[in-house]
Symmetry: C2
Subunit: 395 residues, 2 copies
């Protein structure tokens, strides 16, 4: 029968995409739209790593090794050692973006019907990858009142069934910006060791920590076989379009299986591997300026948000996102209204309704995600809009 698959039906559309036509229509009406809805950094890609690609002089754009160029994997092992992650080049498989590392981890470790526990709200595409892999997501809810901290151990253990194979975390978190403490990571370790579970650790935002330091899942002692890191250069070097990520684990059986998935798709992108290799040689202080810039933006954003009557936004420890609770009954309708019916001095803002980041139906209805990927002037202008909009909307 000529019809698409059930999973084709089930695949969630991007939670932001629905609002795009409204943003486009607003722009056509001459309104300036401040995009706080997407995680595309405005920070420039370091010119020296773009130059590495532009100055390359190979003559044939050949397949690379399926696990990625060996020269790049060796350098990447150096990079990891600088953040206290001690792995060899053989324990790294270069992937096509962090996205592919996630799908490889699910495919290699889980069968259809197996369950993965994920604290919600979470990166919406985890749902999409789970549908591709036939894997069932069991959410445990982190609450905005607790600043999106790890839910209590007892909640976590209640969610474990005979089909549970893994816990998936992202720290610092997209969408909340929450940074797991060393203590929370140790609690997670106890659970994965006790219940023999994999820990899939999405560390895309490792470099962006503003309160305290980053605890990698690879810093946990005695859980080498449990931990799989899913990484990407996208945010680290403002190189989202390159599509270079990595899956890192010390579990040899997992490495062997993932390599077969990697071989099937032949190789990760060639040009961007050159860029990524050059990135490892960036000066040690490269992140300082970027981090300082993001921290400044975060401070303004959070201060401005919490100064608006009825708005609550916990202070995120890392990444460049925050989830705020708004004094509106339905944030999605409000976001649409912002684009369709509102402007303040010819400006408005686009936000991501947070319900798309929850797996439990009905949660996050009053919440929005804000990405602080704009300069501070634009953030201030966007907050002026939001302040004024909420006043008008609630009149």
């Amino acid at each position: 029968m000529l019809s698409i698959s059930n999973r084709g039906h089930l695949m969630p559309p991007s939670p932001i995409r629905k609002l795009v036509p409204f943003a486009e229509a607003a722009k056509k009406r001459g309104i300036k739209v401040h995009h706080l809805n997407i995680g595309q950094p405005d920070i420039e890609t370091p010119p020296q790593i773009l130059a590495a690609v532009r100055n390359s002089n190979f003559k044939i754009l050949e397949y690379s090794h399926s696990a990625g160029n060996e020269s790049y994997r060796k350098k990447l092992a150096d990079y990891y050692s600088r953040v206290g992650i001690y792995v060899t080049a053989e324990q790294i498989i270069v992937t096509t973006g962090g996205s592919e590392a996630i799908i490889f981890a699910m495919m290699a470790c889980m069968d259809a019907g197996d369950e993965v526990i994920i604290p919600e709200p979470f990166y919406a595409n985890y749902n999409a990858f789970a549908i591709e892999a036939g894997v069932i997501v069991r959410p445990i809810t982190a609450s905005i009142e607790n600043g999106f901290a790890l839910p209590p151990m007892v909640e976590l253990e209640k969610a474990i069934t005979s089909r549970t194979k893994a816990i998936l975390i992202c720290s610092p978190n997209n969408p909340t910006g929450y940074l797991y403490s060393k203590e929370e990571m140790e609690l997670l370790k106890q659970i994965i060791v006790k219940h023999k579970l994999f820990l899939f650790s999405d560390e895309a935002y490792r470099e962006f920590c503003y309160e305290g330091t980053h605890t990698s899942a690879m810093h946990l002692k005695g859980a080498d076989d449990n931990v799989i890191i899913m990484d990407t250069i996208s945010k680290r070097y403002s190189a989202c379009g390159g599509r270079i990520g990595a899956l890192v684990t010390k579990n040899q059986e997992v490495l062997n299986a993932v390599l077969k998935f990697a071989q099937a798709r032949l190789s990760p992108p060639g040009f961007a591997q050159i860029l990524a290799e050059a990135a490892v040689d960036l000066p040690a202080n490269y992140f300082d300026a970027t981090k300082a810039e993001y921290k400044k933006r975060r401070d303004i954003l959070i201060q401005r948000l919490n100064a608006i009557p009825g708005v609550f936004c916990p202070n995120p420890g890392g990444a460049f996102y925050a989830v705020a609770k708004l004094p509106v009954p339905d944030a999605e309708l409000f976001c649409q209204w912002l684009l369709e019916s509102f402007n303040y001095n010819g400006q408005t803002l686009m936000l991501a309704p947070a319900s798309g980041f929850y797996s439990t139906l009905g949660l996050g209805k009053q919440e929005v995600r804000l990405a602080y990927v704009l300069n501070t002037d634009d953030i201030n202008a966007a907050m002026d809009c939001l302040e004024n909009a909420l006043e008008t909307y609630n009149q």
Copy 2:
């Protein structure tokens, strides 16, 4: 339980990979190995398309549209119109290599347990993608005696069950080089229309036809909703490492579903989209030289093969592969012996045992795949080796 998935176990390792350590050992012993085993063309990537990337001047390597840059998709529609395929930019989704087009087609059109019919021998990674998607491959066998022509309609119809959703073809074919005639394509159309099946058409080698012309699945009239083309720039422009392909269909429901899979992985590689866009502007005669070169190689290879006593190789109409039957009981053992125990004037050759390209166990045991991606001198030297080797092996 901390163990990999069943599909992780089931994923087939690359059929060529097993022999790699033997090739490496031979090289360490100082023996020159002629690589006829892999489809990595030695033809240079057109310098002007590499220059398009090297002369680019953007400052942020941003995510592209999930379906690929609009400017590229528009150009690609032009390219397709030049080969008689009339589609709009909206009917094209740019993928990360042809590999991703295959997995997207399977994921969007088929559920776990659904069946796809594939004439064997076939590209080994179809098996891998089927395992990822939980899809069952039903092979129908094309025989070397018939030059690997499409098996009779009656065989095809016998393979159709209530779970059959698609037929997957590749023309010109990897591994056989067989080019389906217009008549064979029309027969396929009758079947897909009659049984309401998708036709997944892998047209990676469209430009490489030496006998007759290419009939695209999109040339078939009255099957617009059935046909999904899976394409790639890898072979067309010797740009395998770029990882740019495309899924093309006029079926709007399929396009909507595939777009959701594309959105989940964010975007195809950025640099290589620039290269691919520039490739559409290559002079019309670009393929002439490449095609003439491959045809010359094919002619020498096939003539030399069939001149060896006991060897039979049908003349392939396209691509740059051939499958030959050798006078040996087990081609895999022979291939290993070539690397491990043989040399002729300090040279030997590496071939791909064809059993890895069959889904039916036990088939293709005497066959090997040869990729004519070497210059004619090297092909002649490799054939000298093969001739001598078979004489020695069968003494």
